[in-house]
Symmetry: C2
Amino acid sequence: MDKKEQAICDCEVIHEDVVRRVRGAMPEGKDFYDLSNLYKMFADQTRVRVLWALSREDMCVCDLAVLLGMTKSAISHQLKSLRLSNLVKYDKQGKVVYYSLADSHVKDIFEKGFEHIREK
Amino acid sequence: MDKKEQAICDCEVIHEDVVRRVRGAMPEGKDFYDLSNLYKMFADQTRVRVLWALSREDMCVCDLAVLLGMTKSAISHQLKSLRLSNLVKYDKQGKVVYYSLADSHVKDIFEKGFEHIREK
DNA sequence: ATAACAGTTGAATAATTGAGCAATCATCAG
DNA sequence: CTGATGATTGCTCAATTATTCAACTGTTAT
């Protein structure tokens, strides 16, 4: 353990070997950035409801707004975030925009989440 | 589709049947609340790094602080959130508190997350 | 008892974020 | 073209949140 690390934190390194091993296996910063951004999309009740609804059926913005009892504006804002995260895709047909899940991982992630909350 | 729902949102219902089916299958509010709270724990770079580190080895607060280049205080605050969400458990041995993952689901959730971000 | 250290906590601050309003865009019907 | 409707966007407000600082607890060693 070098001096630099001790300077960063206000404590002595207790288990240098552990820190070294874990650091050696640590993914690069970008992975954690992407990962936390992915989970941010699931970290809001509105978005998680939208994603869940779309995991059942494709829906338009208006359907989602009625289903969740919110304004189209609020739903549209969240759909934009979900689009930018590549979690949903859309299909414009005339005036109506149909949204659907972009990725099969979304259902997997739901599954693991529900497993966790149901167990406790 | 009854009048109440149209009052809530500023739009006509376009696909009553879709809304009715999805609503019929929708989990109760508490599930979405719990689910989004679970994912909130993964939705921050510091917490996701902590969880990832603990998925490799049990570590004390000081080790984590050095590993992540942050103060013990910041780490401790985040560990408290993770404790309250039942994602980590701790084991105090003298002055040192060792943290470890409380739940095997955490690793599963990581796995799905990494699958997603690596594919795009 | 005192000092040193690991960790926790509460308050304060700064930054982020979600929702609604109002304005706007896009498409379709008359 | 004009009006109506679905959707998007920019803005503001309120609420939440991550970090830091300082004070504090608890444990160990002298």
